[in-house]
Symmetry: C2
Subunit: 214 residues, 2 copies
């Protein structure tokens, strides 16, 4: 793949330039126990909590680096990593010149099997400071997640289908961090959903209709 004969106008080969280390760091987000939560791992070196990440391997796509880091560092199978931002402050990482490409991956809690020795899920509201400015990454991730949930119903498939309108609303309330009017929410979302068979009753009260994502 690499054309080792390539030389730039000044005669230098690609390998003659100094190269940064390129890492991916990922905010794996989910909703569990009515809380918007993020996956943290315990850093083997610093014994600090941080977001899972890894250096990019040769010829690897960034999304594949993300999925590999989640498997190796947290024993978690990721889904669809999405680029957020490149953090490029040269003093950001004490190990040297590292560019970190922040990612967001949203995974239903049901698909996350957490090994307590390696990883934990922490509510975003309660998540303390992490190393290497990983809090900044979390901020980007939450902002992106909220943006996604403002228009579309359950855009990342956090709910098991079929789901009730109330379940969908509670999900959006948790992600957005605000209470939503049931009637307004229903009218905004019903056109973007498909009706599913059957009803579901949670305790007393009229059974709720069921929906699937469009």
């Amino acid at each position: 793949m690499a054309d080792t004969e390539y030389r730039d106008p000044s005669g230098k080969r690609l390998a003659d330039y100094p190269h940064p280390s390129v890492a991916v760091d990922t905010a794996v987000m989910t909703v569990v126990d009515g809380e918007l939560s993020v996956l943290q791992i315990c850093d083997a070196v610093d014994d600090d909590w941080r977001l899972p990440g890894t250096f990019v391997h040769e010829g690897e796509r960034l999304a594949d680096s993300v999925l590999r880091s989640l498997r190796e560092k947290a024993g978690v199978e990721g889904l669809a990593p999405r680029q957020l931002h490149v953090f490029d402050d040269p003093s950001r990482d004490s190990r040297g010149w590292v560019l970190s490409v922040a990612h967001l991956d949203v995974v239903p809690a049901a698909a996350l099997t957490i090994d307590p020795g390696r990883a934990r899920l922490v509510a975003v509201a309660a998540s303390g400071a992490m190393v290497h400015a990983h809090d900044d990454i979390l901020e980007y991730a939450v902002a992106q997640l909220r943006e996604d949930h403002r228009e579309r119903p359950d855009p990342h498939g956090l709910l098991a289908e079929p789901f009730t309108m109330t379940e969908l609303r509670r999900l959006h309330e948790v992600v957005l961090g605000v209470e939503l009017q049931p009637d307004t929410f229903r009218r905004a979302m019903v056109g973007r959903l498909v009706v599913a068979e059957g009803k579901r009753a949670e305790g007393p009260g009229k059974p709720a209709g069921l929906y699937r994502r469009g």
Copy 2:
């Protein structure tokens, strides 16, 4: 800055990992002659038109790499580069494993002095294919630019202050690629502008009031 003693859990130093080349490629956008336009340079190697870019120098911030590449490759003084996306397809660049961090920089035409031997401004609508999938970068840039112009008046300062409401509307029409209703546009924007002194008449007709960005 670099801690050369750092070793990861498997005993490898940072430098022992293979490293990608990291480049920045920038869509410098402006509006000239009523056209949304992009700066292209003529590639010295391939003799193809492309977006200006460079490899990132050691310890350099990405935004500084962008500004340097614009100075060196196009003789242009950039303003405020903004990250768009990392293009990471390993086969994207024939020279080898290159990650390209796409940027957008919006510069008023008045601040762009184009050396015809090195660079040119091309209307986006008429811009043909560029090398290394630089067309993808342009798509991201245009989408971002339109997003910015949907809410805020002249968000990147393309107009010289003070300006008339009609000048502002024509700018937004060019960027968004649609015609806008003068009255609706005025009412949407007037609250986000500050009134400036004086009037300006362009030919016959009532002289227009002047505004500045908030």
